[in-house]
């Protein structure tokens, strides 16, 4: 009987098909978890656990009062995030519209105004201190830009690390990081057990960076 039921279930599921990710021409797939759509910061807190209080306006949030992190934690994932840098024509280097997007709170993709520069690993699109972007795919300041990040958490077996974290990144649709192995946590990591999931973290580095349209897809169940 149990077998018959199982067979019936299999037959049913194969005839039912897959729930579509899109019903028309919308941009965000239905299996995405929305982290920020302009309506509020309910998915976010400051690092001390207090409610996130970044400035909200229109469809964006702007850095205010410290780093924020998602309440939820993630392993392998696809992350979409859009950001906009202020124009700071007199600032240079790391002082020019600095922020960052951290995967698991530990691995940073740098956010910075690096427009027109030969990018280093601490420039925009760099995996901070680890890998410069393949090309400088920045838009000018005050333009909205996008990261699409495919992240693989490090793997552990019986307490031993068997693989490192890996990441691919598109900036504004351009391939800038090609499945790069990340030897360890990047600078200013929020820490924690590397074998455990971690939050998405957005950095307050003292500059008024804006973020919008942040969503994530859990890839932990996918085959790799």
């Amino acid at each position: 009987m149990k077998t018959v039921l199982a067979l019936l279930l299999i037959l049913l599921s194969s005839s039912l098909g897959a729930a579509p990710l899109f019903t028309g021409n919308e941009a965000r797939p239905a299996d995405a978890l929305v982290l920020f759509d302009g309506k509020g910061l309910t998915e976010w807190t400051y690092l001390d656990g207090k409610p996130a209080n970044w400035r909200l306006e229109g469809d964006y949030m702007e850095v205010r009062g410290g780093n924020i992190r998602t309440k939820r934690e993630f392993g392998d994932c696809q992350l979409h995030v859009e950001f906009r840098l202020p124009s700071m024509p007199n600032a240079t280097g790391q002082a020019k519209a600095n922020s960052g997007v951290y995967l698991q709170g530990r691995y940073e993709v740098q956010v910075l105004d690096s427009y027109g520069l030969q990018s280093q690993s601490n420039d925009c699109g760099g995996i901070y201190g680890v890998a410069a972007p393949l090309v400088n795919a920045c838009r000018p300041p005050e333009q909205w830009q996008a990261y699409d990040i495919f992240f693989h958490a490090p793997r552990f077996e019986a307490g031993k690390q068997i693989s490192k974290a890996r990441m691919s990144v598109l900036q504004n649709g351009i391939w800038i990081q090609d499945n790069v192995e990340i030897p360890g946590e990047t600078i200013a990591s929020a820490g924690g057990d590397l074998a455990s999931p971690g939050p998405i973290l957005l950095q307050d580095h003292g500059n008024p960076i804006r973020y919008r349209n942040v969503w994530i897809r859990d890839l932990t169940a996918e085959k790799h």
Binding site: G116, Q118, N136, E222
Partner: protein, 228 residues
Amino acid sequence: MKGLVVVFGLAAMVTLSGGVAAEPLFLGAELTPRDAVVLFDGKDLSQWVKCGTDQPAGWKVENGYTQVVPGTGDICTKRSFSDCQLHIEFRVPLMPEARGQARGNSGVFFMGWTYEIQVLDSYGLQPGNGDCGAIYSITPPMVNAARPPEQWQTFDMVFHAPKFDDKGKKTANARITVLWNGVLIHDDAQIPSPTPDHSAAEPTGPGPIELQDHGYLVRYRNMWVRPL
């Protein structure tokens, strides 16, 4: 004198490169980066030929897209590519009575007729390795990220050609990452053999991007490629 020329040459190089400057890929909010080779911008098929010939591509161009003219054959880029990032937009027709491979079939190939990403109306199906987004007959997409037929859809693909040693022995498989409508469906996936004919020899040099005429009225638009 020669020394002086060298010094001036070096100075000029340093000045020209600015030491730290890079040519921007974007000037504002535009979507196509400036280092892209535009394969089709809606105007004509001047970058394409009928595959295996030097005859003009036989597909029709109208309203900013090109559409398969059944029987005119696959079309191939004039230029050849190996490692590259390819952006392509496609639209499959509504064929509600058709099933399986008969439902708006086409395909995008790398390195000539070698490595295929399937184009098909697979909307709502549990995707198999013959469905839209599959590395044809090898790997199904991680998820079915189809839009309904008659909607424009996108593929953003990063392809790495297989590598060979001096003796022609393969040392690394071809690899591909694919976003379908912005959703990751292949993540640096290995392609162990050519997709249409698994026993075929693999190309050791670059080849064209190829779009398949499978007899269905599939449309393509806004295609560009960045050699990597």
